[in-house]
């Protein structure tokens, strides 16, 4: 049903984050149509104005473009923009991993060892 949101972070940012993840994973393919504000608002269980704000956020980073005239929005088909998105998300995931390992008392190279270990187990 409706999406789950964390406390403490503005909802529009969380929606933008979620759409970014959908674009990065290809769930929303390059050049593909983005659901309308109202559709997203209804599935997410949030206010249309909040969705509007999230989409403007994505537009300002050129990840989403609006088609003139009909008001529809599309995922960018620009490979550079999409690469940058994946790169940013990957860096963030790596950062999160290193941070969590440091909380457990492991340094970077020890953290790296765990990654190698996983590879060998597979």
């Amino acid at each position: 049903m409706s999406w789950k949101f964390d406390d403490g972070t503005p909802i529009y940012l969380q929606i933008a984050e979620r759409i970014r993840a959908q674009i990065a994973s290809g769930e929303l393919p390059p050049g593909g149509k983005i659901p309308t504000v109202r559709e997203i608002a209804e599935t997410a269980g949030v206010n249309p104005n909040t969705v509007q704000r999230a989409l403007s956020e994505l537009e300002s980073s050129a990840l989403v473009a609006s088609e003139r005239g009909n008001g529809g929005r599309f995922v960018s088909a620009n490979p550079d923009v999409l690469y940058k998105l994946k790169h940013d998300l990957a860096r963030k995931a790596a950062f999160d991993y290193v941070y969590r390992m440091s909380k457990l008392g492991f340094n970077r190279s020890e953290a790296q060892n765990y990654l190698t270990e996983i590879k060998e187990e597979k």
């Binding site: 049903m1 409706s2 949101f5 406390d7 403490g8 972070t9 503005p10 909802i11 529009y12 109202r38 608002a41 209804e42 997410a44 269980g45 949030v46 206010n47 249309p48 104005n49 909040t50 704000r53």
Partner: protein
């Protein structure tokens, strides 16, 4: 454009007991607003003033730039906190009754909503469960194409699944020209759908801000912030 504007609005019951005091408020169209406050803080009084059921003791209140009267009542759809329909009538008959009464009533929308909520319109209102009665009343209110919806505790008695549907009904029915004011204690259930939040405390305006601002400035949900502000 302000749909509702209050300037130094006050309402006293009797000589001394102020239910609302010095409220300054400006609500724009196209917003969904949560009106929150503990019991007895003045939520229902504010809504009743806007609906024209009470007259202010002091200050001014306008809706769509007009003083409260027949003209504003025609564009305000008000859901009271108590049962307001003739209970011996069948649901369909109540709908027809509303259709006669309000020029902006969309009968197709009401039938559509009843169907989606799985309510049998040929039943007599008073034989329905409490939750179903609340749903029927909300259907009546949301079937009008009003500019301002005033919903006093619309989700108190309904189950969580119906709550979700009701909220999506509110979201999908409202448009850029209309605003919805929802008074509630159940903030966590509705806060994701709110643009703005109004907190009132002992009859005074404590806060009017966007819900994202609360999250940004206080690092907590509206619900958590409410609990902090109104801690007993």
């Amino acid at each position: 454009m302000a749909i509702l504007e209050a300037v130094k609005l006050s309402k006293a019951y009797g000589k001394k007991k102020y239910a609302l005091e010095g409220i300054n408020l400006n609500i724009e169209s196209g917003k969904i607003i949560g009106l929150c406050g503990p019991n007895g803080s003045g939520k229902t009084t504010l809504i009743k003033l806007a609906a024209g059921l009470l007259t202010p003791t002091g200050g001014e209140l306008t809706i769509d730039g007009k003083a409260i009267g027949p003209e504003t009542k025609a564009i305000v759809s008000y859901l009271p906190d108590k049962t307001f329909v003739p209970e011996n009538m069948k649901v369909f008959a109540i709908i027809d009754f509303f259709k006669e009464f309000y020029a902006d009533f969309d009968i197709n929308a009401s039938h559509e909503m009843l169907k989606r909520l799985d309510i049998d319109g040929s039943e007599t209102f008073k034989t329905l469960s409490k939750g179903t009665q609340e749903k029927v009343q909300l259907v009546l209110i949301m079937s009008r194409k009003a500019k301002l919806y005033l919903l006093d505790e619309p989700i108190g008695g309904v189950d969580p699944a119906a709550r979700d549907y009701i909220l999506s009904t509110i979201i999908s029915n409202y448009n850029a020209d209309s605003s919805v004011i929802i008074s509630t204690h159940l903030i966590s259930d509705i806060e994701n759908t709110l643009d703005e939040v109004i907190f009132i405390k002992y009859g005074k305006l404590f806060l009017h801000s966007t819900s994202d601002e609360i999250r940004e400035n206080h690092g907590m949900s509206v619900d958590a912030y409410f609990r902090e502000v109104f801690r007993c």
